[in-house]
């Protein structure tokens, strides 16, 4: 409990100075949790089989640090590609053009419908299966340009492409849920101003959808951080999990090296969570503020702290959804997206 600062308070005669409710349960739970945590810590520290000296020795090993670099690069590169693709796919999915809708549907169906491990194996085998890429007239032998596949599709490129294309299918559904959660009145108002579909998407709908999209995308990014350990299927052998595995196999000490990997994954996850909260703040602009200075005339809580981002229903209209309802809808959509993600 922080002490109340006197100067920040209005001068109220007979200010209530009541005794607070005792939070006995909180105190008891705190003691129990603290005890359990101590026991766990003692177990972790004193258990000789965890070999903390080995953990410490390899925590900053050159190969491990190198592995972290590759893991981060794989995560960031594949997520960036996936985000761009997914926005494209989501916009295509709601396009008036039936061909674009179909392509988007097929893409999501295919990349969500097959295991990412298998996809990575195939990306690794791509240059064996299709040794040469060429540009020419289809079904003839006329060729303008061609290239050896293995020169472009290195293991790292195959790994990034494999991860990105798979992820784009999941993200596309998240983006679509975000787009659909934006109130239709927003697009109507934009249309009425003479804006066209592409512009409305870019300037009005997507910025508002981002607010809903960012938390699940953060979730997916953290998931991707660990999915990168699957790129050994390509095979790509420089990322964190593979690097620690290699050391473990060399010195016959798997447990401490797993701990090394865990520690680093946790560190990166913490950083990613921090970045996510910054992003959420950025895209929450205009939604978080309460009434700062609405002026003397206005007492109506016109702001919709929650919900679709339409200029919210005002108190006492009874028309349109209440902010609570809209918020629930948003949460529901978000949950559905998460379920599709989890069921993969």
């Amino acid at each position: 409990m922080t002490r109340k600062s006197k100067e920040n308070q209005a001068n109220i005669p007979n200010r209530i100075n009541a005794l607070p409710v005792r939070h006995t349960a909180t105190v008891v739970a705190g003691i129990i949790v603290a005890l359990l945590a101590l026991m766990l810590a003692q177990g972790l520290v004193t258990n000789p089989r965890l070999e903390w000296n080995v953990v410490w020795k390899y925590l900053f090993n050159e190969n491990v640090l190198n592995g972290i670099g590759w893991t981060l690069w794989l995560t960031v590169a594949s997520m960036l590609i996936a985000v761009v693709l997914s926005v494209l796919l989501a916009v295509m999915r709601s396009s008036a053009n039936a061909v674009l809708r179909g392509v988007s549907w097929f893409w999501i169906w295919f990349f969500r419908g097959t295991p990412v491990y298998t996809q990575l194996v195939f990306w690794g085998l791509f240059s064996v299966l299709i040794p040469k890429l060429s540009l020419g007239i289809p079904f003839t032998s006329v060729e303008f340009w061609s290239v050896d596949t293995r020169n472009i599709l290195t293991a790292a490129v195959a790994a990034i492409l494999g991860l990105a294309l798979n992820e784009s299918a999941y993200l596309a559904e998240i983006v679509r849920a975000g787009i659909e959660a934006v109130d239709t009145g927003q697009a109507e108002a934009a249309q009425a101003l003479g804006m066209r579909r592409g512009l409305i998407m870019r300037r009005v709908v997507l910025p508002q959808a981002m607010r809903i999209i960012v938390p699940p995308v953060g979730n997916e990014t953290i998931g991707m951080l660990k999915t990168t350990s699957l790129v050994m299927a390509v095979p790509f052998s420089l990322e964190l999990q593979y690097a620690t595995d290699a050391i473990a196999n060399r010195i016959y000490k798997p447990i401490p090296l797993l701990l090394v990997a865990c520690i680093w994954y946790l560190v990166i996850t913490t950083i990613l969570m921090f970045l996510q909260s910054r992003l959420e703040k950025h895209f929450g602009k205009g939604f978080e503020q309460r009434q700062l200075g609405a002026g003397a005339s206005g007492t109506s809580p016109a702001g919709n702290g929650a919900g679709t981002g339409s200029a919210g229903p005002t108190k006492g209209t009874g028309k349109g959804g209440t902010p609570d309802q809209t918020d629930k809808d948003t949460v529901k959509k978000y949950n559905e997206t998460m379920m599709t993600g989890l069921n993969a």
Binding site: A192, M195, R211, G295, A302, G305, S310
Partner: protein, 284 residues
């Protein structure tokens, strides 16, 4: 893009236009909006059943009617937020949404492209019941959005114009506020400023005060009244009978998808049709 030119036109016209004292019909030339035998159905639901209505430039038309009578649908048809099922709407003498073409010796209607529709909409400003301000932009950014990204006006010019429009609706000091920080009445006034910044020839108001707390209705009606006094052509769907009586040049009562009664504002005090009498008895 010619918004700059339009700006001057509009200012000139608002200054020079003498408020028409005679009701509709006294004007020569092209009507601002001509609605001809308009039908609209949503599936099996026949909402508008042959509406005829003419709005002359510089006049205010107030559309009254019970909920579900189709009056909002009529406004949305003019702005092509809904597509016509039958009939024709002309804005400034130009048919909305379609073009006549000849196919196999027959006169057919060709749908306009999205680009052409967007261009037609630029003549019309619209204000919605639920404001529909862009919540991720400040009041100023809301007003600047279309001039910059639709009309291609420079940011500096658009900002100056936006500040002027916000001042016109009495919100110069709220430019940097997000919609969530404004009262309902203030939000609606920003929405009006946003529409005005595109120099519309006609303003459509779809129940602009229905979502407002009673004490905030006056400020929005005040802005609308000053617009009308400036000579703006307006079509207003509203339940504010007082506003209709004082500001309207033409009052139209719609019920069951047809125009039941239309005339000057005096028909509010001397209705002839029973359905209009019943409606007025309810709302007055």
């Amino acid at each position: 893009m010619s918004t700059h030119g339009n700006t001057e036109n509009m200012q000139n016209s608002s200054r020079d236009t003498v408020r028409p004292s005679a009701p509709a019909g006294a004007h020569s030339g092209v009507p601002a909006v001509a609605i001809k035998d308009v039908h609209k159905a949503f599936g099996a639901l026949h909402v508008l059943k042959g509406i005829n209505l003419t709005v002359n430039p510089g006049t205010v038309t107030v559309i009254l009617g019970p909920s579900g009578s189709g009056k909002s649908t009529l406004l949305r048809l003019i702005n092509q937020l809904e597509t016509l099922s039958g009939g024709e709407i002309d804005v400034d003498g130009e048919m909305v949404g379609y073009r006549h073409v000849e196919r196999g010796g027959q006169d057919r209607l060709q749908e306009l492209t999205e680009k052409e529709i967007a261009a037609q909409r630029e003549k019309l400003g619209m204000v919605f019941q639920r404001f529909n301000l862009f919540p991720h932009m400040t009041a100023l950014q809301n007003v600047m959005e279309a001039p910059v990204h639709v009309a291609g006006v420079s940011k500096a010019e658009a900002k100056a114009r936006a500040e002027k429009e916000l001042a016109r609706v009495g919100l110069a000091d709220r430019a940097e506020h997000y919609p969530a920080e404004l009262s309902g009445g203030q939000q609606q006034r920003v929405a009006i400023a946003r529409a005005l910044a595109m120099d519309p020839e006609i303003m459509l108001f779809d129940e602009p005060t229905s979502a407002l707390d009673p004490e905030l209705v006056g400020e929005v009606l005040g802005v609308m009244r000053s617009l009308a006094d400036g000579g703006m052509t307006m079509m207003v769907v509203t339940h504010e009978i007082g506003f209709a009586r004082e500001v309207a040049d033409q009052v139209v009562f719609i019920d069951g998808g047809v125009v039941v009664e239309a005339g000057g504002p005096e028909i509010i005090d001397n209705p002839t049709e029973q359905r209009f009498k019943d409606f007025l008895a309810h709302v007055l």
